[in-house]
Symmetry: C2
Subunit: 504 residues, 2 copies
Amino acid sequence: MSELLGKLKEINAKLANFTTISELLYWDMRTIMPEGGFEAHANAMDYIQTESFRLSNSDELFEILKGLSEPEEWEQLDDMWKFIVKTMREDQERSRRIPEEVFRRAVAITTESEHAWEEAKQASDFSIFAPHLKKQIEITKEIKSYTHPEMELYDALLNDYEKGMDSATIDRIFSELREGLVPLVRQILADKQPDDSKFRRKFDTEAEKKVQKYLLSYIGFDWERGTTAESEHPFTLDLTCSDVRVTNHFREDDVIDPMFSAIHEGGHAIFEQNVNPEYKDTEAGGCSYLGIHESQSRFFENILGRNINFWKPIYADIQKLQPELADVSLEEFAREINHVQASMIRTAADEVTYCLHVILRYEVEKAIFREGVAVEDLPALWNSKMKEYLGIVPKNDAEGILQDMHWSDGSFGYFPTYLLGSIYDGMFLEAMEAELGSVDTLLADGKIGEIRGWLNRKIHWYGNTRLPKEVLQAVCGREATAQPLLRYFREKYARYYPNVKNLK
Amino acid sequence: MSELLGKLKEINAKLANFTTISELLYWDMRTIMPEGGFEAHANAMDYIQTESFRLSNSDELFEILKGLSEPEEWEQLDDMWKFIVKTMREDQERSRRIPEEVFRRAVAITTESEHAWEEAKQASDFSIFAPHLKKQIEITKEIKSYTHPEMELYDALLNDYEKGMDSATIDRIFSELREGLVPLVRQILADKQPDDSKFRRKFDTEAEKKVQKYLLSYIGFDWERGTTAESEHPFTLDLTCSDVRVTNHFREDDVIDPMFSAIHEGGHAIFEQNVNPEYKDTEAGGCSYLGIHESQSRFFENILGRNINFWKPIYADIQKLQPELADVSLEEFAREINHVQASMIRTAADEVTYCLHVILRYEVEKAIFREGVAVEDLPALWNSKMKEYLGIVPKNDAEGILQDMHWSDGSFGYFPTYLLGSIYDGMFLEAMEAELGSVDTLLADGKIGEIRGWLNRKIHWYGNTRLPKEVLQAVCGREATAQPLLRYFREKYARYYPNVKNLK
């Protein structure tokens, strides 16, 4: 091993320590920390993130990466290290171009903006948030002018969350989807809706916790390299690939939501747990492409979890664990988990209307960054799109444009990744069935391990080393397309909503 | 504020970050970390502890402390900062005298020794542990020759855990106690024992968790500045005085142990939560004198918790939370929590025989460090003392000399603090009753808040700023004595064991 590579490994080990610590602080804050712990956690987080930022942007690392990029060193590197050096160098070069004053200003703007968003949402008053959103948009533009001067602004933003993905591709596939979906959703909503009265009971939350553990084990979550806790909003967090954690929230008035949160977060976790362990503690490990990551959580949650066949081998066990479901037949259960409704809140939306919630946000973001629509005009734009896509209009800002926190911390370009995940899923399902046969049959036979193994081998193993578009090529042999997802929706919903048949 | 004091505050803030992080890593490892998380946690812990050690022993801090000790700076400091500067300076001067090679050797010896102890305990074979114990004793002597050349060796060890306490005092009060206790225990053990069959049921562990929360709230644990989780062995940990955490373990076969662990750890936590908040993040905050700390956990656990009057206002609630106790009368419950039995294991011992377990360990430690008894002869010494004090002999090393892990990590001088805590408690009880009247009456009236308030004001508030002997003087106005504890034992056990009356 070259001396320079040895030095890079040392720095990576140190950066990995910083990651472990900051992730653990975050985990603790979100799961168990008492109110009084906030200040000390915030101070420790600030210390660690400052150290991590310094080291990531240090001249020392710069020289190491530069040296390793020289031909005589580069030739000695294996593919993994070539990927790591190339990625770190590119990231560092972009990051080092941000003047410290700008960086500090961005941190301050975000702190204020997050706070203003909370206040605005509480008061359901967009005007409280608007001036901060403006500042957040301006500082975002300023930062991108340093980091990505060669890229179109909104494409540069998308790139932060789904590297290599561009708005031309997204425009094409989102349009495909929107055109197919708007009429499909109209057909569904005009149809007879199932009786959901059996799901309006009080459910035992201790039983819900047992169901969560059962489901995580069933889909293949590795408990020796993972664990679970409770938090207000479910999330997945990896301290390393061998310590991957999922949270959930348990509610007496909802038995279904915690089940699907468990499967969703379990899908994220199974991804992280199955990346090539040689990539551990490097840029190659984990997966930082959110669309690809989301494709795995949604594959488990929707493609598998909302398929009646998923439940066939286990539904009797679930009924034992959660006795309030004793008089709910499997068919009734399957209808309810595929119950489509027009609703205001993205995070509470069903599998199919969810897509329209995301398309709306994508279009609003483009309106901001491409068309220069004024911040003041955004609520009206939001509401008109809700009317157009879902036929409903928010009665206030809290259930409209203020519902999500993403823009308050400057996460512009994040939303589309949720839908990219679903679109990829349609493609992955098609490719999987071509190789393994009917997923319905595999699920009904309890062979979920075969499905997981396929995802492990085809996708998870490669971690960050394949960019999203490369994953699609390698797994599906084609460019991104929304057609398989549309086909899957049409077939599935025809089962529950007879109206849908007319569309085929 | 002087420039130097400002610098010291900055260093303290940094050290506080290190403490938060290392405590959180420890907490996570003991409560929720999956097996696969060990390596990353260990690496992060190593990094943080190295940084903390470097800063604590740095020339920079040395110069600041030296400067602040010069008359013109010293005179400007308030009492709190005088205490902090004096303590930090003394600790640093001792610590800086340890050559790095010796320090590293000690770390390596401890790692091996802990491992060997686990193996030896598993195999119940002291000979596996003996060579490591020898090395641990030798390196301990070597380190003390650097840090405390002016002190007698065993006194120097005691000083690590109960600053200012000396073996002359301990000899005197432990002898007092042993002389009173050995005949008392004999009387008790010869008496009729209660029927404990109602406690040999299966108990619902979810109910036990609710009981723990009830008890913690009842004794005054502040949930805004603390939380709880499960671990194999119960412990208390403070990230800061406003984030103090207790753990517990819940077992189907034992309903009493988790209750008293809750009250015990709650007592430790209430101490930390009630130290003067101005001391936060400094040497003055918290309490690092283990005897004084233990006196508070044991005051809650034993003096209050094992008093029938403690339960009078709450026993009906406890029975509701834990329905298996419905047919257990308060009197039966009180008898069982004061059930005295000769047993092998310290941590499972009752309030009174516990004292003899500690005296035994204190005498063995003196045999090692004062009398130079050979390591090979320790099991026989242990067993003969068990015979003498409790009339029973371990049938193997696992339930004898190998039962505790303390010596494997070099914690010599730690054991006596457990008993010092109980001895102080007898004195505190006497002083409290002189001021507040009968504790029986206060407890029966549900006025536990008055008791806690007294402990808060008299003891907790001062944190580290009063050494153990100073606490006794300030609170009780006298030197350490075991007589109040003995009197308390005699009175209490006379209630449950009629034989005991003959002793009075």
